[in-house]
Structure formats: C-alpha cells, structure tokens
Symmetry: C2
Subunit: 464 residues, 2 copies
Amino acid sequence: MIGQFAAIVGDKNVLTEAGDRLPYAEGGRGLGPLPSLVVRPRGEKQMLAVVALARELGLQIILQGARTGLVEAGLAQADCPAIILSTERHNATIAIDADNRTAKVDAGVRLSSLNDAVASSGLYFPIDLGADPSIGGMIAANTGGARFLRYGDVRRNTVSIDCILPDVGQIVRLGKGLWKDNSALDLKQCIIGSSGALSIVTSATLALQPLPTSRSGAIIQLADASWLAAILRHMEGRFGSLLTAFEGMSANAVELALKHVPALRRPFSQMGLGSYYLLVELSGPDAISHELLDALLTEAVAEIFSRFPKFCLDAVVGHIDDFWAIRHAIPAALRASGTVVACDISMPRGSISEFRLQAEALARKNWPMLMLADFGHIGDGGLHFNFVWTDAERPMPAAMKYDVQAAIFEKCVTEFDGSFSAEHGIGPANIEFYRKFVPPDVRALSAAVQSAFASVPLGRVNFG
Amino acid sequence: MIGQFAAIVGDKNVLTEAGDRLPYAEGGRGLGPLPSLVVRPRGEKQMLAVVALARELGLQIILQGARTGLVEAGLAQADCPAIILSTERHNATIAIDADNRTAKVDAGVRLSSLNDAVASSGLYFPIDLGADPSIGGMIAANTGGARFLRYGDVRRNTVSIDCILPDVGQIVRLGKGLWKDNSALDLKQCIIGSSGALSIVTSATLALQPLPTSRSGAIIQLADASWLAAILRHMEGRFGSLLTAFEGMSANAVELALKHVPALRRPFSQMGLGSYYLLVELSGPDAISHELLDALLTEAVAEIFSRFPKFCLDAVVGHIDDFWAIRHAIPAALRASGTVVACDISMPRGSISEFRLQAEALARKNWPMLMLADFGHIGDGGLHFNFVWTDAERPMPAAMKYDVQAAIFEKCVTEFDGSFSAEHGIGPANIEFYRKFVPPDVRALSAAVQSAFASVPLGRVNFG
C-alpha cells in the first residue's frame, strides 16, 4: 500500500515514520490522534491518482491543509483506517485575472501567499484572519473573520470550485469563475462549509476586492456592553460600506492581551474605566483620503458620546494598527493565560447585549472560577464567548469544557435563536452539538445531499 | 378535486374558468400554455395543505409569483397534469429586525412592498430591477440586476429560507436568519436559483443594506466598446465600494429608448458620436455628500479622457436619474421596436470588448437583417446581448431565434468561458441550452441533489 502511494507521489511524500507523521496530528487547538499514513500529492494528476487508490483500497480520506482549523475536521481519527491527504504541496498555481478581479488557486495555497501575489494588481482576498490557512481549508470551514461585515465569508467570495468526487473519478468543475451566472444549480455552495466531507477540492477561483488605500479607526471605552446595536446602527448609517470592522472586546480580554504582549501600545492612559471596548474601522478607496476618514470618524464618535454620555467613557481616533494589534493578540493571550473554553457563537446583532448579561450571570453562578474574556464581531453578530481557567495550581475538571459549552450553546441557540458554530465549521470537536441543535429534518436532508456527492466516506463529519 | 382545493383556500381562490386562468398564463416574455387549475393559498397552513393535497392527487406543482420571470419556469406546461400554485396572496408578513438588518418576508411579497416597508428604517433590499417580482420568484431565479457589482445577487442577500419539501410534509427551516453561521450545510443555497424545482419556498429572511443617501453619476460617450475593462478597473481603484453601477449601452439601444420614450432627456446635445455609452454610478452614505461624489467623479472622468483621448468623446456628470431612466427604458423600447432575440449572457469582465466585436461580426454575416441593440452590466460581466427584428412587414422566421441564441451562446460559453444564463435562471425557455452546455457530470450531480430534496416532481425544470 505504501509502495502504491509512493509510486504516485514519490517516497518522500508518503510519511510512515511516527516522527514524520507527528506534525500532521496537530490542529489549531492542539494534538489529535497520530495519523497512520500521510500522503502529500502535488498537482491534479497526483491528487486524482491518490484518491483513486484510496478508494480502491477502501481507505477513508481526510483532507488536511495548513492545520489551522479549530474543530478537528482535518485531523486523523483513532478508530478508522483513513489516510491524511495533505494539500500542503499542492500549491503551484495562482492564476490572476486582474480585469475580472479573480484568481484561480490550488487548494494548498496559503492565504498570505495569495494576498502577496495579487497585491501588485491592487487587489486582495478580503478574509481577515489571525491565522494563515490554506484556501482549501478556508473553503471547508467557510471562514469568516473580522471584516465579514464589509466583505462576507469565503462563500461570498468564491466563484468556482474544481473538485474530485471519488465516485466520478475525475475533476468536476462547479462554476466557471464568473461573477454572475445562473446556468445551473450552484452546487459549489454545498461544498463550501462542508468540512471536507463532500468532495476533495483541488482548486478554486476566488473573487478579489480592490485594496483599500485609506484607513481610520477608533477605540472606544464603554461602561458596559449595553448599547452595542445602537452604536452599530449609527455607524452603519453614517458610513455604509466604508465601515469595515466593528469589533467588541471585553476589558478582561484586553487586559490579558496587554499583559501577554508587553510591546502592545495602551491606547488610553487610564484603561479599564469600564468593562467593554469597541474597535471601529473605516476603509476607503483611493478617492477618499485618510484625513477625511479621520475627520468623519471623529465627528461620528462625538455624536455617539453626546447621545450616550454616561455610557461612553473615552475614545481615541487614529493608530488603527495599534488597535488591531491588541485585538489580534487576544486569542493567544487567552491560551497563554490558562485553559480556554471557547464558544464560537453568533446571534441576531440586536441580541448581543442582552445575551452577554444573561450568559455572564449564568456562568458566574455555575462556574465562578472561570474568567469570561470574550471578544467578537459585533457587526456580524459573531461572539467568541470564551472563558479561561486561570488557576495554574489545578487542572480544569475534565467535564467543565463540555458543560460550559452545552449551557452557553443552549442559551444562544434556543433562547436567542443563534448558532453554536458561527465561523469555525463542524468537526469532531463539535459534532455532538450538531446532533443536538440541528433539527432532524435538516440533518436528514443534509445526509441525502452528502450521499448525492460521495457514496464513499470522506472527511470526518457525517452530516446525518 | 376542485372542491378539495376550495375547502383549503376558499372558492374564490381556486380558478377554474378559462377567463380567470388566462392572466396566469402570461410570463415576462408573453403567453404560455393556459394552466388547467390555479390555486392561491395564503399563509403557511394553506400552503402546506395545498401541497399535501396535490401530492395525494399525484399532481405536479408549478410555483408562480408575480409572473415577471423570463424563462417560463413559473408557467404551466401543456403536457402534464400540474397545478399552478400562485403565491400572490401569500404576502401577509414583512417582519423587520432593524438592528440585525434583516426582514423575514412571505414568498408572495413584492420587491417594491418590501422596500416600502423597510425605507423608514433607513434600509433597503439592494437588488435593482426594472421589474417588480415576488421574493419567492427572485429566490427561484437568483435575480441579479444593475447593482450586482456592489451588492451581489439574491443569493448573497438571503440568510434563511423556510420551505416545504413535499416528502417531509412540513415547513423545513434552512438557516436561522444570521449573518454568520456555519453550524450545518448551507442547504438553502441549493434552493436559490433552482427555478422552483427543489422545494416550495414559503418565506425567507433577507439581508438589508443601509440606504445610500448621496449619489452621483456620469454618462460617457465612447467611440466604441474597446476599453471597457480598463475604464472599469480605473473606476474600481478610485472608488472601491462607492462604485454602485457600471453599465454599458450600445448606441442602438440608447437610440431605440430615446425614440420609444420621447420624454427622456437627451444627455448630450450631439448623441451618437460613437457606438457605445457607459453609465457610471457612485453612491455614498450619510457622511459623504453628493457634492463630494460629483467632484470626485468629475476628476475621475477627466483622468479617463486624458488616458484615452481618441476613445472618450463626451461626458456629463450629474443628472443620475435621467441616465437611469434611459437605461431602464431600453428593454421595453426593444420590445416595442420589433421581435427581440434575447441573450442573457455573462463572461469574464476582460473579455467583453473582444466578445462584442466577434459576436457582432458573426451576427452581421449570418443575420444582417437583425439589429444588435445590446446593453449590460459590464461591472459584473453580464451582457443582454439582444437583437431586434425591426421589419414590420414580415414576421421573423420561426427558426431564427433559436439559431441566433445557439450561435451566440456557443461563442460565449465555449470560446469565452462564459454563461448562457447570467441572471434569468433556467426554465423551459432555455432548458435545451442547459442540456447542451452544462457538462454531464454536473447534470448528474444536480439530478442527485434535486432528488435528495424532492422525490415528487416540482416546477418545470429537471436538472438531470
């Protein structure tokens, strides 16, 4: 078997030694099971041959990209004879069509490589993330990020997918890379966000956006998080599509970031006046200067202060990169501060303030030893409602993670009509909640669609 | 049978008289077969009961909204015992969540009613059309329109769908109306653009956009259509998301519009200097005044003129409503001028100029009696590459429509990697081209997905 794979991809790209396989066991949230075999094809021909051989041998295929995923969808499973098909070498092509504002890229290309390649055309792929995933992984998870408010997710910015359906045994092209096309069912939409369980994506044509050339930002200290929707609506009314981020950060999360990364610049001489911060970003095209954006944002912040005088405590306009540095330092700061219980949730935007109050009270009552250090994308209703177990003396009790997630998800999904997986997708890490919260009729339909795509098992998620 | 339907929806809403049924035979491009029975439920309960009864009686269901569709997907078929399920009375609900920028609306609500209802919240559903379709019809066709460049299509602006799958026999909710959600396969995407052949949509939650408050526009006379992509890229670089339309119009199309609607204001004292016009629109939020937009657009137009001096002949900035009036008058003007052969195509944006040259030459050689009067959405690669048979003395030969479409589609799809249906969807009017141009592997997968949704036949399109 090993020889058969090696005949396709070369000896070096069939990893059999435990030491060689170990890096492929690590996901974005730590170690999973050690894969029994890792195969690293390059190019469509090798991809097709590897898939055909795995099918012939009756091996399940688990696709793996840059291993930045947060739900374990790309990791091996202990109980199943699967191969890891790593796309990390399948990254030769970035074909830019600047006139069409699109680029066709191989699944193994990293987000940063794509953006480096298209920058000289004045373009970028506008999914803003802390991590640097592969394009295939981004499609599998339908990645969102911090500028979703303006640009949407991977789904919105993907105009075609080339993929292998093992039953078909060849590359199927779903979509032609056009902006506007209604000549068939848009089946690539099923694949986006399917955790690698419907097909093996070999390449995709992505829609690019003009690179903004001016930016301005504000960070605002708030007494608490009680008027987020009102401020958001004010800013959207004022700035429309110039508003490119509207992020919330609890004071706890900001404090952990500042403590963990001492080089971060404190925006206020007096921090922690209140319990919540907002980061507001404007981005403009060539014709709109950053001075104009600064002036307009200063004016809008003043309006907010006069409308909510007791609620708005302090604000700084400018230094946008400093503000983002704090925001992006939060996830690592939480991990460095203890054991994290992460809840990647979303809900209607107007419900966030009330949800935070109720969920915080619930957690304080049941798990007083956990610190709530949440942050999120208020502009799209997404919250990383994360807790940290900071006690270095004792490990967090084994059942606590599940209990906290179950309680937070329950409140979010059933009381606030929200989602238990806003932007990280579905994988072994949360499939139990998928079964719990997604209604049986939707799961039955999903299973029928999944089997329309592939009769052989793919990936680690059964959507039934 | 009639009595059974009447027991559900009332006598008045089961149309059996030929005269009553006749209006339901008329689509956006004229009369189709007379339906044998029209049933008009109101509310989910009646919708469910009508679907269940039709299933019990073995009747095919064809969904019909506002009858503005252009591919006959909502019209009866002569050869099949189907009922027309008209959603025109199913329009009671428009539930606005202004904080979330969404509205849940019944399928029979018209686009204009939705926009009237949300205007007081400073919001709108940003699909810009000449027609006034129902929301259900817009979902079936995945309507695009003239501001696709900025806002995308119905797909991009739909966050949940409630629908009936006849096999399930109850309302299935696909999506929860959230902006960011990856908690399941996004199955509503299969339904959007499915011509009513996968499920019966009862309602949808739509994403709304802040209503722009400032606008500016330019109309530019060009010698010909040879530098469209370069001008588009210049404008996109300058204006980014402030650019809300970039429309092209052949001089023939503009002349027919001005002739057909004498009240239209001629933007230039001397029209027809060249063979092509561009309409460029900027829209800004509250913080950006229309004076600023006018000034910036004037500057950008001057840059274009200095870069392409022989190509740019004349331009006017301002009077944006006058420009749109001309643009929107074109489709009716073509119909009033003779028999229209319509080709709703799209392609990579950079190919439009060359395609026009080649396709015009092809048509001139083979069908010299046809006038090319094309217009389109250059910003999204969409072209209404339409011809008019203007000879009032003789009818157009019966085979000509098919022959012209087949030749134009062939060139567009196979030589220019384009689409034969950019924004009108698939229906009996173009299903032959679907079979011809959509590859067998994609059709086989589509058929499998279609039967995952509904084992009983729905609509008029078999995606196999």
